[in-house]
């Protein structure tokens, strides 16, 4: 069963005689444990989609199911499965951190005797234990962001909707949020996250969707998308010796490989900025089916070439984003 399922979701606003289509037949399906990166220019419809899933906005058409529950018919029940962090949020500055979390735990009808343990757990997870008795107003912006994330976790929701959770944070706070998201990922949460920090999204999202003018332009796993959009997948391999022979072999596989070339020794791969192992490095564009890329490796090994590494450098999500979007807003 899909944890989040959107079918033909539409949202149209009417402003005077004009109509504005914020979402245009959006479809999405997220399984348990999926980390979905929702990417798009400002005004593309990301926040509208998130608010509709969070039952804070009604769609003009379409259906929304969260953990099997129809969020339009049973919004209260659906909200119980969701942890929601809006893009812009405030906190109650004049109470203490634990009081803030206790309030939300009480709001989620968590029994009083269980609340201290839960608060302690979420504070530890968000690395705010030392601030338990501090007033919320004394926290830095990054800490407030983590406190908001802690608040979304008090009822242990299986689905998390995070709208720009790292926006406006300094690099250190961004890294802290990223590490926290990785922990949530390890806990098996289904996370839908919108962000503009594309390299970080690429690091922990197993799926991404690019939305523009209310339409999902592409959706799927990052590498497959990159290959579909570009028509190839960059592969780098390092051989101990016989680079010329390896190059010749690659040139003999035009149905799978194009533009093979030998790079310098200890070459720094531009896309991934990785230091390569000692040996001779080759690069090529793989154009075959994504699941058969290792056929190339197998052929090289069977020909007696000693391969030290064979991998796909990190896909440049920014490049992918620029290729598929036109910078238009709804």
């Amino acid at each position: 069963m899909a944890m989040v399922e959107l079918n033909n979701l539409c949202k149209v606003y009417k402003t005077g005689s004009d109509t504005l289509t914020a979402l245009d037949n959006l479809n999405l399906q997220l399984e348990k444990g999926d980390i979905f990166g929702f990417i798009g220019p400002n005004g593309a419809g990301k926040t509208t989609t998130i608010k509709i899933i969070a039952t804070l906005l009604l769609p003009s058409a379409g259906t929304v199911r969260v953990n099997g529950v129809d969020a339009l018919k049973e919004p209260g029940r659906a909200r119980g499965f969701i942890g929601y962090m809006p893009d812009f949020f405030g906190v109650y500055d004049d109470i203490k951190v634990w009081e803030y979390l206790d309030f939300f735990a009480a709001a989620y009808k968590i029994p009083k005797d269980r609340r201290p343990g839960i608060i302690s757990d979420v504070l530890e997870l968000t690395d705010l234990s030392v601030k338990k008795d501090a007033y919320v107003e004394s926290l830095s912006r990054g800490m407030k962001q983590r406190l908001c994330l802690a608040k979304t976790l008090v009822h242990d929701p299986p689905v998390m909707l995070l709208d720009e959770p790292a926006s406006g944070l300094d690099p250190r706070a961004r890294i802290e949020i990223r590490e926290l998201l990785k922990e949530l990922q390890a806990m098996g949460k289904t996370i839908l996250i919108s962000s503009h920090i594309l390299p970080e999204m690429e690091e922990f999202c197993n799926k991404i969707g690019i939305i523009e003018r209310g339409k999902m332009i592409v959706e799927g796993d990052v590498k497959t998308l990159a290959q579909n959009v570009r028509g190839y997948q960059s592969i780098t391999l390092t051989v101990k010796a016989n680079a010329e022979q390896a190059l010749h072999m690659l040139q003999q596989m035009p149905e799978l490989v194009q533009t093979p070339s030998i790079c310098a020794e200890n070459h720094k791969i531009a896309e991934g900025s990785l230091q390569m192992p000692r040996g001779c490095t080759l690069q090529f564009q793989y154009i075959g089916p994504p699941e058969e890329e290792y056929a190339v490796l197998q052929a090289l090994v069977q020909a007696g070439i000693q391969v030290r590494s064979f991998f796909t450098p990190e896909t440049d999500l920014e490049d992918l984003f620029m290729r598929v979007t036109k910078g238009q807003v709804a």
């Binding site: 804070l56 009081e99 709001a107 009808k109």
Partner: protein, 257 residues
Amino acid sequence: MWNNPVLRKELLRYKLRNDKSARIAGLVITALFLLVLYLLTGRYILFGASQSVAYSVWQVIMGLQFTAFMLILPGTAGNIISKEREQQTLEMLLFTPLSSAEIIVGKLLSSLLLFAAMLLPLLPINILIWARLIAHSTHYPFIQFFQTYLTQFLIGYFILALSVFFSNLLSRSLYAILASYTTLFGLFCIGTGLLSGLVPSLVWLNPFVLFFEHSLAENQSPADVLSFTMALFLLTLLATVLLAVSIAKLRKPVQGM
């Protein structure tokens, strides 16, 4: 009632947080204590003066207290929801499983409790004056003492409900507070006075008239008591309707086409 998380959270916010506020509170309490002590021992007021002077003193105290509440309450309750909207906490509050009624009632109760707490400091003086009035004469019915407090409380409830309504309706606290003051003084105080030529019974909806001319009046005719009770009932009903509308409108998702 005490399990309402919104009420508990709002009460937490009234807590004294630092030494400075504790000192100010200490000074205020001391000043009130001295005032009570003065009036307690004030021979002229409690023992030397005539019954009518003691009654007048009570009328002045209650009148000042009532006027102060009329001026303070719309200002304190007018931002009860709009402040949540302004500080961007409302969306997260609405996302919780708390019902709209729990949120509105929790907010209202916290204001009502604060209002009730503000009634307390002058309560000992009023009790002592009434104890003296009753001890020396049967002219002053003790029920009037309760009636005065009940009237204040119900008018306070009406003002708070009116303020909550505007706070929910208007996005800015300033506009909500201004609308609350304008409606209370413009419509219910001045407006009912101006229209009383056309509809005389409208004057009963004026909180000042209700309180000063009837609740504090020394002699109340049975007809006045009936009109007075009806007017209080109407204001309470109106307050409850305003609250019901606020509850219904609080969590209405934005509907598209």
